[in-house]
Symmetry: C2
Subunit: 458 residues, 2 copies
């Protein structure tokens, strides 16, 4: 996969060098010679990754990074800080400023390409998650998806898979206060522990005596439960080939031991933060979708949901030769309830009505608010006779016990009419027709005097 | 990136061979020796890709493929058919059965790995899009997202970037009836055309006289507008290195000319169908999210949206030293409207009220239904005095012209009370406090006799 990369450096030679290397690999490269120019380019262009020199006149790299990460429009763009080899503090400061990674000068070509590749992959996923927001061109929706309300401030749970107790002890010391470290020494047991536990990050040793660390990584990446678990590879030696392959397989970061404690903690925090961010995005999207198929007043599914799902249920019933019944019910004289008890009273009745419906049906039945005071229940594996009985039980349950209003201060009698229809499998009946049939039955129940059930057999 | 691959072949030797090759590349491999076993494994395991032999006793490869694609739980898993080299018809039949790609026996290792890699990438994106559905564990929500109602049956629009008019003519002949072919001979102009047009697929020549085809591909893949455009590389010779690199850069498929017309059309259709599917997923997710922040009755934004966005607007106003005002309005004696004109009448009034609010404010203002008969308007860059004037104009607009009910058969007088508050930037006031202030103002307006504005300056 390719990407648009912005390279920022005040040294023309460095700029040309990085530009040439990246262009050779078919990345699209843009350049900027100082912080102001970089921020300006980011305003105008769609950039996937920023390679950012630290030492620059004017706005330095740290500040550029901070500004990128503070701006909702650019905060998702991975930033790689390029620091001098001996400036350990710069790395920590960079990661604290929100940088996603760093490279040391002179830039090692393999590391450059491996890290860029891994960040491009990350960016692609983020983009996919944010895309729906892009599509709506609505910054507020992006904020909503991004909303981190749920991200706790618990210490991170970290899993170390390493055979040596000495390594565990050293990492324990480093992480004290920043994370809770769990240790498994056997690689296979480690994969299992990762899949069964709830970890925020895994540290995988590159130096098992008798097991390929890349196999551990590939297993973690191919299991559903650990696919998005951040992995840091911890290696005793600078093994470029192994590291490159590990990054390709989906490792998120690597360290060569002995590690600088501050740098390690900063790297760990970057991974944990990123995971929390992605998890938040995912669950916010999921939550939004759930809301979109839920009736806000009653908490039942709404008509949009029913319309989508009914056809599938009908198809499935036909294919498997199973019965399916559908019930439409409408509260009798609901207008009068509203007139007498106001909008709020009406809402209370609707909520209680929904509650009673839900209580009377099985988990596999689908209960929806169809609109206004009309509700639909779809009942798979339910033949005509049984459906009529259920409808009668529902009718009785509603009519028999008055509805409480205003926290029980007042009680009103509510009745409902119900139309039931059963799918005609021989005729290959459609979902639309089934609803029509039930609707006709409901009409007859109303016309027949209300508070009654009319059932149409298949 | 790695993946779980299911290899299906009735020949143990072939099975072992593919297994060994893929395992060496750190894929997790599962095997099945016949169709029934394959379908059984797919039921139980999470599989990312299926490599499927065609010729098998019992259920053959075509049928296995059809069943995979017909089952909602597995339809997103890419299937690669493995066919004998000389069985051109098998390829077309496989693609028609829904296969995503095919390989010919004996399997060329480079092609195998390149194709698997490209399909893994595709699968990752699909999973990310479907994940929210997974999270909800709700098959109906998956169906809703997948719902292809909008996928038209228009002929596909295809862009060919190739210098030679002869190639254009040949492709034109092949695609007649299946797609509309557009031709650009210059590669740079081709990229521009792709970004500006609305194409369903692009065919890129691998044989420009003076331009690197990989550059065309990387440019298309790094532009926002063409990032998801399916690309088929069309090459005059079987150039393995070029093809591998192209697949890595994100080409979706390749053909070596002269192409078999049926095979080509089948491949093209696969790409177009896949794009429509992904586009549909994306827009359905986006639509769902929009619905989740919209008030169903009035079409205004809802309280969830306001709660998310107000804090950002307040923060922004503080940061930029700009004014910000907020208005809460409540329809006077709304209960009486409901009592007299019923639930439907009340709804009509709410809709008309929302319409008038929207008409009186600027595009940058945020109008929300806050709940019941209460509405909120947030007005950036609006100082206290101006906000009070706007509120007064609104009050007048509502009180001055009666509301029509029942398609204009009846008219009723409606008034509203309004509370206005302006952000106190000196005190760094919070969003919650701003709302509270406006709420107090609204309360005073109600207490003061209704149909009036009370404004709290900063």
């Amino acid at each position: 996969m390719t990407a648009r990369i912005l390279v920022v450096d005040d040294n023309q030679l460095n700029l040309d060098l990085l530009n040439a290397r990246l262009t050779m690999e078919y990345y699209e490269v843009l350049t900027a010679m100082n912080g102001a120019e970089a921020l300006d380019t980011l305003e105008r262009e769609n950039i996937d990754i920023v390679l950012l020199d630290v030492m620059m006149p004017g706005i330095d790299g740290f500040e550029v990074c901070q500004r990128i990460k503070a701006n909702p429009a650019t905060m998702d763009i991975p930033v790689v800080m390029v620091t001098a080899l001996d400036q350990m503090e710069d790395r920590v400061r960079g990661l604290q400023a929100g940088a996603d990674d760093f490279l040391t000068k002179p830039v090692n070509e393999m590391q450059l390409l491996a890290r860029v590749k891994s960040l491009v992959r990350l960016k692609m996923l983020t983009d996919e998650l944010r895309l729906r927001a892009h599509t709506t061109r609505d910054i507020a929706i992006e904020e909503l998806l991004r909303n981190q309300g749920k991200a706790g401030h618990e210490p991170a749970e970290v899993l170390l898979i390493d055979e040596r107790i000495s390594v565990f002890e050293r990492f324990s010391g480093i992480m004290r206060g920043a994370a809770r470290l769990h240790h498994v020494n056997d690689p296979k047991a480690g994969v299992q522990a990762a899949a069964e536990g709830r970890f925020d990050c895994a540290i995988i040793s590159a130096d098992f005596s008798d097991f390929d660390p890349l196999r551990v990584i590939s297993q973690l990446r191919s299991l559903d439960r650990t696919r998005f678990l951040p992995i840091i590879l911890s290696s005793d030696i600078e093994n470029d080939t192994l590291i490159a392959r590990a990054l390709e397989l989906g490792v998120n970061d690597y360290v060569v031991r002995p590690v600088d404690p501050n740098e390690f903690v900063a790297r760990l925090k970057t991974q944990v933060r990123r995971k929390a961010y992605h998890d938040g995005l995912r669950s916010n999207v999921a939550e939004s979708i759930e809301l979109a198929v839920t009736d806000g007043l009653t908490g039942l599914h709404n008509r949009r949901y029913l319309d989508t799902h009914l056809e599938t249920l009908v198809e499935r019933a036909h294919k498997r030769g199973r019965a399916l019944s559908l019930l439409i019910t409408d509260i009798d004289h609901f207008k009068a309830v509203n007139d007498t008890h106001g909008h709020d009273g009406g809402d209370e009745v609707l909520r209680e009505f929904a509650r009673r419906l839900r209580n009377q049906v099985r988990g596999m039945d689908l209960v929806c608010r169809y609109g206004g005071e009309e509700f639909v229940i779809v009942m798979p594996d339910t033949p005509a006779l049984m459906a009529a009985e259920i409808a009668e039980r529902l009718r009785f349950d509603i009519a028999d016990t008055p509805f409480g209003l205003g926290e029980g201060c007042m009680e009103i009698a509510v009745t409902a009419s119900l139309g039931v229809a059963t799918l005609d499998s021989d005729a290959g009946e459609t979902a639309a027709n089934l609803i029509k049939k039930a609707d006709t039955a409901l009409y007859e129940a109303k016309a027949g005097g209300r508070n009654r059930v009319v059932a149409k057999a298949a």
